[in-house]
């Protein structure tokens, strides 16, 4: 980037900042070099709204549909494995080959006991929560940790006159708005609470469980949390099932009291710009089969029909991190992700009832990598004076300057209102940019303020081949500064 164009870029950013920088979705198509999406034909004349997706060790795909069916895809052939389920919104291929499916009223273990390719055993695994026939009372999950425990999340209700509500979402009791844990024997345990519409849950290879929650009342923008026992994640309605709280004293809790009780998210996910309705996290464990982002977390979004990456940073022993868009313009609402054994990223889709940028009501696509190394931001980590940004290719030194980087920060207002604008949005000056010896990283210095989301824009950077990145902005959630170095 020339000095002139960099100044122009900085000036335009400043203009946008002073005008309020309205939240809007990227209008362009973003896709790293070497990646393409493949559309999978779903069974004819079947409303194939996928809301549960997993694959087994042989690469067989299992998809649960909102109509209550489970289908397998093997050798490009679809086969109906199970049916009659109550709007499942999660599915796990368990280690013994059985299928755990998250029906609204229960977790059910499906088995094909006579090996004819069709499930004939639908045994209850757990149903320790209450379901009240409200459409919004989804049951998401399960995922499994290294100890063999299972985890799931339970949506609040919507438009349920019998539920306790503070205006929008509600709970008629029975652990709505909770995450739950189930041990190997199916024993249910309410695990954490304060959730609204936690449509995404995933476990990494260390057994750590992460959840996403959708923007709305008490959720200023969509977010990613590390799931931990006994924690409160912000939506007060679920407190109705927590000892010491009731429908009389919950409304008296002040915003400050609730905010103090609440866990900070690992990452705020900027509304519309990145996601409106994020689904489950999936980790690239393919050790390079999917390109340079091995080990990273990918999340899809139903409304934006996109996929974004999450770059985790452990600061003072706690996770915080950044989100960055990965690919957009999928055909429908991306609600489920799964990496198969070949390192292909499968995308289960449904849009009915909410709509999505992709116009189709449902479908299945996958993202595959052709071996081309893209030029993209690979990693971002907090330093004592700013951030270290690492790219997938060495940078052209001529494109690296203070003027080629722009930054701004803001925070969100936690309240019962539906979402929050960016509060106290302000540009922040980058004072120094230093290119690493291998040319792949830059250290940038800028003023750091805790409890802010920092957006860093880098459209002017080029790699040695003259390529620009397909996504030129990253959003880092700065819960805390480094104190132990």
């Amino acid at each position: 980037m020339t000095t002139k164009s960099a100044l122009s870029f900085a000036a335009s950013l400043l203009l946008m900042t002073t005008q309020g920088f309205a939240q809007q979705a990227p209008t362009d198509t973003y896709k790293p070099d070497g990646y393409r999406m493949v559309t999978i034909e779903t069974p004819a004349n079947v409303q194939f709204h996928i809301a549960g997706l997993d694959s087994d060790a042989n690469g067989v795909i299992y998809a649960a549909t909102r109509l209550g069916e489970v289908w397998t895809l093997k050798d490009n052939q679809w086969h109906k494995f199970a049916e009659g389920l109550h709007e499942p919104t999660g599915l796990l291929v368990d280690d013994d080959g059985s299928i755990l499916v998250a029906q609204k009223p229960e977790l059910t273990r499906l088995r094909d006991t006579d090996a004819d390719g069709v499930a004939d055993s639908y045994l209850l695994f757990t149903s320790g929560w209450d379901f009240h026939d409200n459409y919004h009372e989804y049951n998401f999950g399960p995922v499994k940790d290294q100890m063999g425990n299972y985890f799931g999340t339970l949506n609040l209700s919507h438009n349920n006159p019998g539920a306790f509500s503070l205006g929008t979402m509600g709970s008629a009791g029975g652990y709505r708005g909770f995450a739950y844990k189930v041990d190997k024997k199916g024993r249910f345990q309410p695990y954490a609470w304060g959730l609204r519409s936690p449509a995404g849950i995933g476990a990494n290879s260390n057994g750590e469980v992460f959840i996403t929650d959708n923007q709305g009342d008490w959720v200023p923008t969509s977010k990613l949390h590390l799931l931990q026992a006994g924690k409160f994640y912000g939506h007060p309605v679920s407190l109705i099932d927590v000892e010491g709280f009731n429908k009389d004293n919950i409304p008296t809790l002040s915003l400050d009291e609730l905010a103090t009780m609440s866990e900070k998210p690992v990452a705020w996910i900027p509304h519309i710009e990145v996601a409106n309705s994020p689904g489950n996290p999936a980790w690239d464990t393919s050790a390079g089969k999917f390109g340079p982002f091995a080990g990273q977390m990918f999340i899809s979004d139903q409304t934006q029909s996109n996929i974004f990456r999450v770059i985790l940073d452990k600061v003072n022993g706690q996770y915080q991190g950044a989100v960055i868009n990965f690919m957009n313009h999928f055909q429908s609402g991306n609600i489920r992700l799964n990496f198969d054994q070949h390192g292909q990223l499968w995308v289960g889709q449904t849009a009915d009832g909410w709509g999505s940028q992709g116009g189709k009501p449902f479908g299945l696509q996958k993202v595959v990598w052709d071996g081309t190394n893209p030029f993209e931001l690979l990693n971002i980590e907090l330093t004592t004076k700013g951030f270290k940004l690492t790219f997938t290719e060495a940078l052209d030194p001529n494109s690296v300057s203070v003027d080629s980087i722009a930054a701004q920060h803001w925070h969100y207002h936690y309240s019962g209102k539906y979402g929050s604008p960016k509060m106290d949005l302000a540009a922040i000056a980058v004072s120094k940019v230093l290119l690493s010896k291998d040319g792949k990283s830059i250290d940038i210095e800028l003023p750091l303020t805790a409890d802010k989301v920092i957006q860093i824009d880098f459209p002017g950077l080029r790699d040695g081949k003259g390529r620009s990145v397909s996504v030129d902005k990253v959003y880092y959630t700065l819960n805390q500064l480094i104190t132990d170095k």
């Binding site: 009659g84 009223p105 055993s121 639908y122 459409y135 438009n159 009915d352």
Partner: protein, 447 residues
């Protein structure tokens, strides 16, 4: 839009039926009142046997068109419909019925069809261009367009001006036997009024500000709907206007063109053909946690996993699950047939002490679910078989309870006979003794 389509198969069935009715010696008469209860009753029987397979039992349309909405292309007058049934539409697959049915029988069918009429008839509209968003005064000089709407649906996309008031007016039909409401989806801030027989109807926000409704009279009425665009954005002006039952649990039929498009998605019928169907879904009149099972013999039941009991039995086809799928799937699925009994009536094991029910799951046995559950640590299995659309057998196994006495509370239902080769019925109870393997059968026969 409707023409009446008939398949060859149905024609054969109809011929059989004509033979049957001839035996009944139905006399022909030339004069028939549309509101004659006897004619309507006779017409219902004829319709269900001769027409329902193509036009649906609820007249809502299947292979053939919807027969109860306001859209008619071959004439909406009763006599025209009589002629259409007599002559048929061979090019559309529907034969003429004049050689199969008497004129009186056909008229009775028409009486029944018109008794089920829903929505507008003779719908007209008037469009006024207003000065600005705040202009509320209608005057003749502001009238820019008016006319009839042949499909009898309020079309809120007619206006091409920014600020307007549009009036829709016509005869309006709602079910005679149940209260209904108009509902405007996302209508909290919609400037709309309803006048029924000249009286303004108050907006009713009992379901919440965002679910405004206006109660209808039952049967035929004169309805006038007035909508003022005010500051509404373009997408807000195309209103979704639907008639619901009194508690809004069932979306009955559309009033506006947009609503019709939405309602089309609210029909997805599950019908067991070659083997039983199991479907777990929110269902009207069944408690939460119910699992419905439909048999090809046209009889269905529901098992509840929290009560460990049979909580519903109905004849006919299984379920329309469309309401639970369309949009966000808020609404309950609807049984397609007639209830024999439903919750709170149930077939349930009686215990001397309050009992703890623990549902375990089910296995499929030749496609039929065998439910497994425990009550107070005793394990039970229930496998149900249907003999025909009137008789159904409940095969119980009380595991580890051989030769044991058990008592069941029987559901209240008219014309339902309960028997058991393993016990006897006393009032509302059935006393059974399990055999050496813990097995016993309870049979229900609908008279």
């Amino acid at each position: 839009m409707k023409i009446i389509i008939h398949s060859l198969l149905l024609s054969l069935l109809s011929i059989q039926f004509v033979m049957a009715t001839t035996k009944n010696d139905v006399k022909q008469t030339q004069h028939l009142q549309l509101d004659d209860p006897k004619a309507i009753s006779q017409g219902k029987i004829l319709y269900e046997q001769a027409c329902a397979a193509c036009h649906s039992r609820d007249l809502g349309g299947a292979f053939g068109f919807n027969l109860k909405d306001g859209e008619w292309i071959h004439g909406s007058e009763p006599q025209q419909v009589v002629q259409n049934i007599k002559k048929g539409f061979s090019s559309a697959g529907m034969p003429g019925f004049d050689s199969m049915f008497s004129t009186k029988e056909i008229k009775s069918m028409v009486a029944y069809i018109f008794s089920k009429r829903e929505g507008f008839n003779n719908l007209s509209f008037k469009l006024y261009q207003m000065k600005d968003a705040n202009d509320r005064v209608i005057s003749s000089d502001k009238l820019i367009k008016s006319g009839r709407l042949a499909n009898n649906l309020a079309d809120f996309q007619l206006p091409e001006v920014q600020h307007y008031i549009i009036e829709f007016e016509g005869n309006f039909y709602t079910p005679k036997n149940e209260p209904t409401r108009a509902w405007v989806q996302w209508g909290a801030n919609t400037n709309i009024t309803f006048e029924i027989d000249g009286e303004v109807v108050e907006r009713d926000n009992r379901f919440g500000e965002w679910f405004p409704t206006w109660p209808f009279k039952q049967g035929k009425q004169q309805l006038k709907i007035t909508y003022r665009s005010a500051d509404d954005k373009p997408h807000m002006k195309n209103l979704t206007l639907i008639v619901t039952n009194d508690d809004m649990g069932i979306k009955l039929f559309p009033v506006s063109t947009r609503a019709k498009a939405i309602m089309l998605g609210k029909k997805l019928e599950l019908k067991a053909t070659s083997q039983p169907i199991v479907q777990r879904v929110k269902t009207m009149n069944l408690p939460t946690y119910s699992i419905a099972v439909g048999f090809p013999q046209k009889i269905n039941f529901a098992f509840n996993t929290r009560h460990c009991s049979v909580v519903g039995l109905w004849q006919g086809d299984m379920l329309n699950i469309g309401p639970n799928i369309a949009g966000r799937g808020e609404d309950a699925s609807l049984p397609l047939g007639e209830w024999i009994f439903h919750f709170p009536s149930s077939l349930q094991l009686q215990q001397e002490q309050p009992s703890q029910c623990q549902y375990l799951g089910y296995h499929l046995v030749a496609g039929t679910p065998e439910f497994l559950y425990k009550i107070d640590d005793a394990e039970y299995h229930l496998l149900v078989s249907a003999n025909n659309n009137k008789t159904i057998d409940f095969h119980y196994t009380a595991v580890d309870l051989a030769n044991s006495s058990l008592q069941f509370k029987l559901p209240k239902a008219e014309n339902l006979l309960w028997t058991s080769p393993h016990g006897k019925v006393t009032d509302e109870y059935l006393h059974v003794t399990s055999d050496a393997f813990g097995k016993f059968i309870i049979s229900a026969q609908y008279q």
